[in-house]
Structure formats: C-alpha cells, structure tokens
Point group: C2
Chain length 303, copies 2
C-alpha cells in the first residue's frame, strides 16, 4: 500500500497498526517515533518497526503516509515539528477520538502539497502502551475518516483502502458531526464511568473495600472503562468540550427525571424506560458490535 | 443438606440454584413454583426440579428450606400465601437485591416457628428466565446473608453452609448496611446505565443508528447492564429508594465538579481523577472479582 509509513506515537493503537501492517504487508518499511526513549526502546525490543527515531521530524523523511498516534493534545506540536520534512504528496492522518480540534491544531502547520485526512478507528481496550497492541484490534470495527470537502479524493480513497486492509469498515463523515456522535458513544460513557468510580473511591475506607468485594453486581463494568489511559482522556475532554457539555446536559436532564420517578415511587415510568433500553442492546449484537454472551463472555474467559 | 427445597420463582437465580443443587446434591427433592404456567412448563421441560406447583402454598409443604427467587416487590404477597403451610423449623430465605424491605414485607406474615434468613447472591448476568441459569453462576462470588440479631444461629449457619456448597463465599451483614453498599455497587451503576442508554434512545433516528454502529467506543458496555430484567430492577429502585437517592446525590455532586473542570479546561483536575480511578480496577482484579483481560476477554470469546 505504502512504501514507507511513519507512526508517531506507539501506544495501543500505534502498536496495533504496526502489527496489522506487518501481517498484511501494507508498508515497505515502518518508522516509529515516540518522545520517550524508554518506550521507543520497548517498541524496538518488540520488533514493531524497521526504524526508530526520537525526533518525529526525522521519522517522517521519505514517508508517503504519516499516522499520528499520540494523545490529541499534542498533535499540533507534532505537526509543527514534522512539517518541514514532509514528502510532497504524503498522506497525513491520525487516530484521535476528537476530529475538529485535530484539524484546527494541525492544518495551520502543514504545507499545501500534503493531504490531511484525519481518522479515528472505533476500537480499543483499557490497556495502553506498545505492549498492548494486537493485529486484530481493528477487525470488524469501524474507522471514521473526516477529510475536509476540498481534500484530494484519491488520497482519501487510498487511506480508506488502507483501513479496510486493516480489517475495518470505513465511514466518511464531517469532523463536527463525528465529535457529536463520539461525545455520546464514547466520551460521555467514559466521563460517567470515571465519575462513578471516583465517587466510590472517595468513600470511607471500609465501604470502599466492600465496593471492591461486591463489585460483580454491576460496578466492575464501569471500572474497566475508568482504567483507560488518563492522558488520552484528559485531552479528549479538553478538546471536545462543547459536544461533551451538550451531551452531558441531556444526560443530566434525563437523570433528574429518573430521580423524580424514584422519589415518587413511579414504578410504571421506571419499567417503561428499562424496557425501551433493551432494544439498543439487541441492535448492537445484531450488528456484530458486541458478543452475544452473558457478562460479555467473561465466564468462558475465566474457565 | 436439605430434604426438600422449595424454589418460588425460577428466573436466572432460581434456575441457577436448581442446577447447582442438582450437581452438588444439596436437596433430596426440589419443588418449583412460579405464577406463570408457561414458565413453570418450561422449568419442567428443562428438568430443573422434582415437583412443580403453580400455587406457592402447595409448593412449600414439607419443605425444610424455602427460597423466594421472585422480584422483591412480590415477596410480601408470597410470604402471606405460603405462611399457613410452612413446616415448623423451616428456613425461609430469598435472593433479592434489597434486604430491609424484604424483611419488612415478609416478617409480619411469617409464623414464629420458622427462621427468616434473607440472602443475596452477588452474581448475575443480563439474561433472565429459566433458560438463563447455569450451575457455575455463584462460583467465586459473594453471597450476603442479613439475619436479624435474634435469628436462630444454627439456621444462619446452615444456610451459610448451603451457599458455600453452591460455590460462594458468605458474608453476614446488617440489612440496612447491605442496602447502602449495594446502592453503590449495583443499583447506581444500573440506574446510570439505564439512563445513558435512554438518553441515546431518545436521539433522532439517524444519530441513534450511528450510536449503535459506533458503540464499541464505550457505549456498548452500558447497554449490557441496561438489558437487565425490567421488573426486577423497577422493584429494586422502588424498594431501596432512600439509599439510591442518597448515593445518586453524591454521584451528581461529583459530576457537577467534573463538568466544571471540563468547562474551565482544567486538564490537571481531569488527569488527577482519571489516574485515581485505576487503582480500584486493579483491586477488583486482584480479588478475583473480574477477569484480567482486555475488553473483559470479549476478543477471545469472539474467536
């Protein structure tokens, strides 16, 4: 697909890309860059790439595709550093959970003769770092690309084809719309999970230990999401502020209604909501976006 | 353990008890009762018991242990019906997620010569009905018993031993304290999950379909919990109102603080919370209350 791909950042998504590019032979060579010497060394020990550079400006030399896999808060800095060395005609992309801010941060730095095609694979786990990656991460998952309308169509098509070879289905979407949809499907769920685990964490020590002990009654599900990478998620909330606050507003209104139903002992209203929410789960399973097994198949995983 | 056990209600927990009692030979005979003829027929087809009765008053005759496995809202009615036929010295228990209300509902109906020992196995899945049960449900899970201080100690000891033979570890606890701890570990997580899935469900059709499509970014985790049995959960919120509202109050205060941090772009406050929440996950995994695998081991379940 590409002669040379540069991966800037080698966490869960970056290392998973390295694995799948190797397996599917999508790049003649892979150059990996990350700002931590220790992480770069680890990537080398794991044999994730063909070349390793601390300096992203060196890593992008001759690359016909550059994928920035850092937290979204630093992609502007990365763009500024790599801009002078970008190969004319190169595709510049990323994997961040926020897209409008990524465009705003990166575009001013990039020369006119490269193609900015922001991307977001809807896939991940609560694990992070170069050891967390695996080649199947993107299998049967969506990848959203958010090019601007004036972006070169063949560059978009090429990146689309790349992600399809990584196992994904690709959707093209407006960056602002992406940020609103992801605020609901991803950012709000993470915020709520972090919040409830935080509430439990602030309890007095004895109750806190009971919460851990009896967590199989529901709470443990939230702790998985709330164990996600703190830097990545800090950046998401700072850079998708408006959509997150809008979505959180809706959630809070609905929660007030639910609270009132409980206070009034309105069982019918509760039953009605608890019935409607079952349909969405069914649709998600039908569309292959979750496993159809009790407790996410945990019990079989435990055996 | 017991000559004859009566199970009133044969959903997920009742049918799992039937399976494990058979496997571990914990009862000379099992009599099953449920108010739906169809469900009772299904239990018989699944060969879950030795006798089947629509009328709970008939089912409890000669039983030395009666376990009520219905939604908590009807346990008072069940107690009134079975009271005249209870065998002197019998243990009367249940499996409900709320304990104070169960005592208040049942105790006035029960004769003095039986032993009320309320119970709550901290185990479940989002599936319900007699087909959902399996013998391993209680394996390595806690079961909480909430007898009153004057309850016969040998009856408590006998039920404790029964649950241990079902695979559980047993904790004895005050009913009121149980209801507070479970409000945090179970009732609030379910309420939040139902609420966020409800918020998504109310979106306009196009966005709603995108939420389903891109649910692997976090949202799908919540839909599992929000697919739980509506009747059971309606009853939980109606019957544990005070503890749920108290816990919800704390959660909402914390959420307001988090909302303000996002509005102000206070990345340090966000990073601090997101780091603290990782410890609880680690403790839960160390204590064997969840699997130590990315995405709950879903990926292995999918293979």
């Amino acid at each position: 697909m590409f002669d040379r791909v540069a991966l800037i950042g080698i966490g869960l998504v970056g290392s998973s890309l390295a694995h799948v590019m190797r397996r599917e032979k999508l790049a003649g060579s892979i150059c990996i860059s990350t700002r931590s010497e220790e992480t770069l060394k680890r990537a080398e020990d794991l044999n994730l790439g063909d070349a390793y550079e601390i300096d992203p400006a060196k890593a992008v030399i001759d690359a016909d595709c550059v994928i920035i896999c850092t937290p979204v808060g630093v992609c502007g800095d990365v763009a500024a550093k790599i801009a002078p060395n970008l190969k004319p005609g190169a595709i510049i992309s990323d994997v961040g959970s926020v897209k409008q801010s990524v465009i705003e941060q990166m575009k001013p730095h990039l020369p006119d003769n490269v193609h900015l095609v922001p991307g977001h694979p809807i896939a991940g786990t609560e694990y992070s770092g170069p050891d967390a990656g695996f080649a199947n991460l993107f299998e049967n998952r969506w990848c959203i690309l958010t090019p601007e309308s004036e972006t070169d169509a063949s560059a978009v098509e090429r990146l689309k084809s790349f992600w399809e070879k990584c196992g994904s289905e690709v959707e093209i979407m407006d960056a602002r719309h992406h940020d609103l949809v992801l605020a609901i499907t991803s950012h709000l769920p993470h915020l709520i999970a972090y919040n409830i685990v935080g509430t439990a964490n602030d309890l007095e020590a004895e109750t806190r230990s009971e919460v851990i002990k009896f967590s199989a009654s529901g709470f443990r599900d939230f702790t998985r999401i709330a164990a996600s990478d703190p830097t990545m998620w800090r950046d998401v909330f700072v850079h998708n502020k408006d959509a997150v606050l809008e979505t959180l507003g809706r959630f809070s209104e609905d929660l007030s209604t639910l609270q009132r139903a409980i206070r009034r002992g309105d069982g019918d209203a509760l039953f009605d909501l608890f019935t409607r929410t079952r349909d969405i789960r069914r649709s998600i399973i039908e569309q292959g976006q979750d496993v159809d097994a009790p407790n996410f198949g945990r019990d079989s995983a435990e055996d």
